[in-house]
């Protein structure tokens, strides 16, 4: 008995000693450089994704212990769910319009601020970037007041300049509210494309412009034949970030309209929240999450592999 205890103690000491040696030589990097980050990723990203995929094949109210396996029922339900279709197309609309604003206005403003024709360009860049530093919840609450019917600042301004006819129920009109939200979202995020384009423009070799000017290129031709091709990698990155940002939309919708009026501003992220946490249908909510994941990952992978690779090369 005593011998056994002694042997166990010896084995333990040897193990600890070897472990300490290993840690001293290579363990530090292994543990803190690889194992811990991977473990964190697996626990906080990998496992939730896998659990979400599992949940998408179940019916569960989020509270009761019964989790019923329903196969692909939730996926079939998606196809026939008008609420999902509405959210899906609203998300697509959001992604395309926000992207147009980010690329169109972001690039135009960047070129303008980089051209040397505007005084204090850094100040204006900071000003445009400022909304990005604000929480979207704050932005949403602020614009809810600005757009309030009757006493909101926007309506007052329109009345003040004699454009009463343009006044709408900005956050309660089924046909226009989603566009109002897209514009606010694009405004809040515009600082990122602006800064990325600014970095891209600063990196263009000025000799290219000089050479083109010597060849007699106009400003328009400079922009079209020199600036845009040089910015292609930035444009591609901005496109990807903008689309993914749009697909993740939740805060503004939740704070400003709750998905209304009548589902007019319902987007996938918010619809998933509604289904899971308002209707307690976690299985179906997880199914929407899987679709979002596939959509975002599919877009990012296809885009990066098929289009961006050439440009980045």
């Amino acid at each position: 008995m005593t011998e056994a205890i002694g042997l166990r103690s010896q084995v333990r000491e040897t193990f600890l000693s070897k472990l300490a040696d290993f840690m001293a030589n290579r363990g530090f990097v292994l543990v803190f450089g690889i194992i811990l980050p991977v473990a964190v990723y697996v626990v906080f990203v990998g496992w939730p994704i896998l659990f979400n995929i599992y949940l998408s094949f179940t019916k569960w109210n989020g509270l009761a212990p019964d989790v019923v396996f329903v196969g692909i029922d939730n996926y079939i339900r998606l196809i026939n769910d008008p609420g999902f279709r509405q959210a899906f197309f609203n998300s697509l609309k959001w992604a395309l319009l926000a992207l147009s604003i980010h690329l169109g206005i972001g690039l135009t403003l960047s070129i303008l601020l980089h051209s040397g024709r505007v005084d204090f360009p850094a100040f204006f860049r900071s000003l445009i970037f400022l909304p990005f530093t604000m929480s979207l919840v704050t932005v949403g609450l602020m614009f809810s007041l600005i757009l309030s019917p009757g006493f909101g600042v926007l309506d007052a301004l329109l009345r003040g300049v004699g454009l009463e006819g343009l006044i709408r129920t900005w956050l309660g009109d089924y046909d226009i509210t989603i566009y109002v939200l897209i514009i606010i979202d694009a405004w809040a995020y515009l600082g990122i494309p602006l800064m990325m384009f600014h970095a891209g423009l600063s990196a263009i070799n000025t000799e290219l412009f000089d050479a083109a000017r010597v060849d007699g290129a106009s400003e328009w031709q400079l922009a079209w034949h020199v600036t845009l091709p040089s910015l292609k990698p930035v444009i591609l990155i901005v496109t990807m970030l903008s689309v993914i940002q749009s697909l993740k939309t939740f805060d503004l919708v939740s704070v400003m309209t709750g998905g209304g009026p009548a589902g007019g501003t319902s987007v996938l992220g918010h619809y998933m929240y509604v289904i899971s946490f308002r209707r307690n249908d976690f299985g179906y909510g997880a199914t929407i999450g899987v679709v979002m994941l596939l959509f975002s990952a599919g877009f990012a992978l296809t885009y990066l592999r098929g289009v961006a690779r050439n440009a980045l090369d």
């Binding site: 600890l16 900005w170 009109d173 089924y174 709750g258 209304g260 009026p261 946490f277």
Partner: protein, 426 residues
């Protein structure tokens, strides 16, 4: 050096993981976890005061471990913590469909023995007891009561020679006069979808009776029933007729107080929780204000919707139910409920023995309306039914008001959700 550091890290890590908990010889106070939903700073302070004061009086015996969770995060968090290894013994709950959801999921303790032991039925708002009762058993204690009433601007009505309407016909006649005077008859403020259901529920109950409404809630009446469609239609007619403010689906209740306070609108059927927005710090109305109950429709005697805004449940799996019940009794005491009304700014108390004498006369009158026994009460739809039905209902009602769904389509949408959640009509 590196070797020494690594050894130190290893020894520290192993020591921590191999540490054996040492059990104290001294008897420790029973710990009761209390998780409350806090919607405002005053409420959070009051909620914490409840725990601190109780702890001071039960030192060494019972310790309340308080946690306040802001409004929006509460629902998602309570679902998670109830399933976690150390769930709260006492927690904020809701009445109606959500309470039933927690009961059916096996988390709510039956409180009948404690209702008996502490005599809660004798001190509690009668509607509150009614609302806490499911299949003959009590499952929560209401801590704050509320009612839906027709708020109105007496100055505006008087100026136009009108009186507070006692019948729906009077209300519509007054509304027409108000419209002609350029004043919005009713505020709806339905941006977040839930406000319009107050009027919908009141119209349904006061037109077809509380029994029909109970049948609807209890799944004995289909949501496609003509009575339901009719209630949707009345709301649509009011919207189309210009009886609500412009952009009623684009403004929330807080900003909507502005036009009401400025006298641009005359009436607002909404919960008594609006007092927080209508009263100043001294508890008096910030502008001319009065209330009446929902007007009677046809020959139906009006029923006031008295509901439990805040309630507390006890965890079914709690190992310290007696201690938790003692805490609940403290929450319902006159001292606590008085403080809740005064410092907590949470109106109205569930304990009918709380004096409202230091309140503004209008609030005293409202408090008496809420405390008065009535044959029956009703909750607005999203309190009464499970969430799986409430959400499609709110969505359908707003869709009707916006004009993208007909009353029949909205009714069918809710019926589909009811079938999926509760099955066919009983």
């Amino acid at each position: 050096m590196r070797r020494a550091f690594s050894k130190a890290v290893l020894v520290a890590a192993l020591s921590t993981t191999m540490m054996v908990p040492v059990s104290g010889a001294m008897a420790e106070a029973v710990k009761i976890r209390f998780m409350d939903r806090t919607t405002a700073t005053e409420q959070a302070a009051y909620s914490k005061w409840l725990a601190d004061t109780f702890n001071a009086a039960h030192e060494g015996e019972i310790e309340i471990v308080w946690e306040g969770v802001p409004d929006e995060a509460y629902k998602t968090k309570i679902f998670t913590v109830l399933r976690a290894p150390n769930p709260p013994d006492v927690f904020y709950s809701w009445e109606g469909g959500r309470a039933k959801f927690l009961i059916d999921s096996g988390f709510a303790a039956e409180l009948d023995p404690y209702y008996e032991k502490y005599g809660w039925k004798d001190i509690m708002n009668p509607s509150g007891v009614q609302l806490a009762t499911f299949d003959g058993h009590q499952y929560f204690v209401p801590t704050m009561m509320a009612a839906a009433v027709l708020w109105y601007r007496p100055d505006i009505l008087k100026e136009l020679g009108l009186e507070a309407p006692s019948t729906w016909a009077d209300a519509m006649a007054a509304a027409d006069t108000l419209k002609q005077a350029g004043i919005t008859p009713f505020i709806l403020a339905n941006q977040m979808r839930w406000p319009a259901q107050f009027m919908w529920s009141a119209l349904f109950v006061n037109t077809y009776g509380v029994e029909a409404y109970d049948d609807l809630i209890a799944r004995r009446l289909a949501w496609t029933d003509p009575k339901v469609v009719d209630a949707f239609q009345i709301m649509k007619d009011l919207m189309d007729g210009g009886y609500f403010e412009n952009g009623a689906n684009g403004i929330d209740i807080t900003p909507a107080v502005v036009p009401f306070s400025k006298g641009e609108a005359a009436m607002w059927y909404q919960g008594s929780f609006m007092t927080g927005r209508f009263l100043d710090d001294a508890g008096a109305p910030k502008f001319p204000l009065d209330y009446t109950t929902f007007p009677s429709v046809g020959d139906q005697a009006p029923t006031v919707s008295v509901f439990a805004e805040n309630t507390l449940m006890m965890l079914a799996q709690s190992e310290h139910k007696d201690e938790a019940a003692e805490f609940l009794d403290w929450v319902l005491s006159v001292e606590s409920q008085t403080r809740q009304s005064n410092e907590g700014k949470l109106l109205f108390p569930a304990n009918v023995n709380v004096s409202l004498d230091n309140f503004d006369p209008l609030m005293q009158r409202l408090g008496k309306t809420i405390a008065a026994p009535q044959d029956a009460t009703f909750m607005h739809v999203d309190h009464a039914v499970p969430d799986a039905l409430a959400d499609p209902f709110l969505d359908g009602l707003q869709s009707v008001l916006v004009g993208v769904m007909s009353p029949e389509q909205a009714a069918a949408q809710v019926e589909n959700a009811a079938q999926a959640e509760l099955g066919d009509v009983n």
